[in-house]
């Protein structure tokens, strides 16, 4: 008779719940950055967590589950042509930004950027969010979205050009 293995295998479902408890706040913020509104963020988060749950037992290394969840969420967002693609853009008539810049102007600029993100395509928005919210480098963004680094560069460049235009020429 052999001694019991000293390696304790946690019950998969307990692990999953611990993961959700530990990371759901950050993942929901990430979902909100991608979708731009709370209800779509909740849908996207749940879709992502279902995928993570289904893949849980196949994951050899749960240390990378957060990265898997981020990648899954970004791809689910970009791939959902219909569900997250028909939002009404609130940026149809953006106020013009002119004159010298005060603290209030900077606050206004942050609002303009947020609303301006709705003008971007989903892939462009995902690239911006991964770059500036998750601090991914170009290679990591390409890996997360399953696209080439060249495509990441061009999408990011176009997104920044669009956002600059929205701001009316903020210095960059």
């Amino acid at each position: 008779m052999t001694a019991p293995s000293p390696t304790l295998e946690l019950a998969p479902e307990l692990d999953f719940e611990s993961f959700v408890a530990s990371h759901q706040v950050r993942l929901r913020r990430y979902a909100l950055a991608l979708t731009g509104n709370g209800s779509d963020a909740d849908d996207l988060l749940q879709t992502t967590l279902v995928k993570v749950y289904l893949a849980w037992n196949r994951m050899a290394d749960h240390e990378h589950v957060v990265g898997y969840a981020r990648t899954t969420m970004a791809r689910a967002y970009v791939s959902a042509w219909r569900r997250w693609g028909s939002r009404v853009s609130p940026t149809e008539h953006l106020p013009e930004v002119t004159g010298s810049r005060s603290d209030a102007d900077v606050t206004s600029d942050r609002d303009l950027i947020w609303r301006g993100l709705d003008r971007l395509g989903r892939r462009q928005r995902a690239v911006v969010v991964l770059r500036y919210f998750e601090d991914y480098d170009l290679a990591a963004i390409a890996d997360a979205l399953g696209i080439t680094q060249g495509t990441v560069k061009s999408q990011l460049s176009r997104a920044l050009t669009n956002l600059r235009e929205i701001l009316g020429g903020v210095e960059s």
Partner: protein
Amino acid sequence: MNNLDDLIRSSLNEHTPATAPDGGLAGRAKAVGRRVRMVQAGGVALLAVVLSVGVIWGVTTLPGRSQSIVAASPQPGPASTSVAPSESAGSSPSATAVRPSTSADGKVRDVSKLGAPADGQEGEMLVNYFASPTGNFHCFISTVGAGCTGQDWDAGVEPSRAVCKGSEGGVMGPEIWGTANAAWECGTDPHSFPFFYDSENPDESPVAWWDESFGESAPWSVDPTQTLAILPYGKTLVAGDFSCTMAKAGVSCHNSATGSGFKASRAKVELNS
């Protein structure tokens, strides 16, 4: 660091406030996940029953055929799931699925009446997605349009975005809509997602056209956790006036009412050929 970078970072942080943890979130995700597993298990069980019946039929009715070996296509991987909670919760699998009609020779399948609801250039449509056997082309077909996005093109095939119909983004691939001629389409988001998704309503699956007798499947090289729904060489999908045919020389889509269409391969794209 520059002003725009700082503004984007601060804007994203400011507009994504942390909310109170949702104690029921994990439980709901698990509940949906379990339903998905049940649907998958049900599908496998149904397949097993069908295959068993086929084997028994072959053994008992075909003289001199003691064994019937069925070469099944690879199963769509479970990691290819994409579950829409709003679709999954509270609904039961459709018992009256509309099945596509297939020609007697098994080479042409009509998908006019099934597919995933999507927003096309001319309003809502039912769309079906499919991939080429190499995985290079991801395509869609509906009763109002068809098109393909190339993952890679040989040098010189992909035109400047100046030729595109769309106003922004990069070159996606050739598309044909309504009675218009085929044209290169621009955009920032891919139009075709030929992957297996779990749907409790098979009529609304974006790969509703697919079954093992007509399609093939393979892991997507870019993301092997996703499984491509492949239209094999020699097969054709039809939706209304539109049809798309897969050949070793490339994928072609046409509008039979206008005669216009396109033929695309990695090495060459012909519009309105």
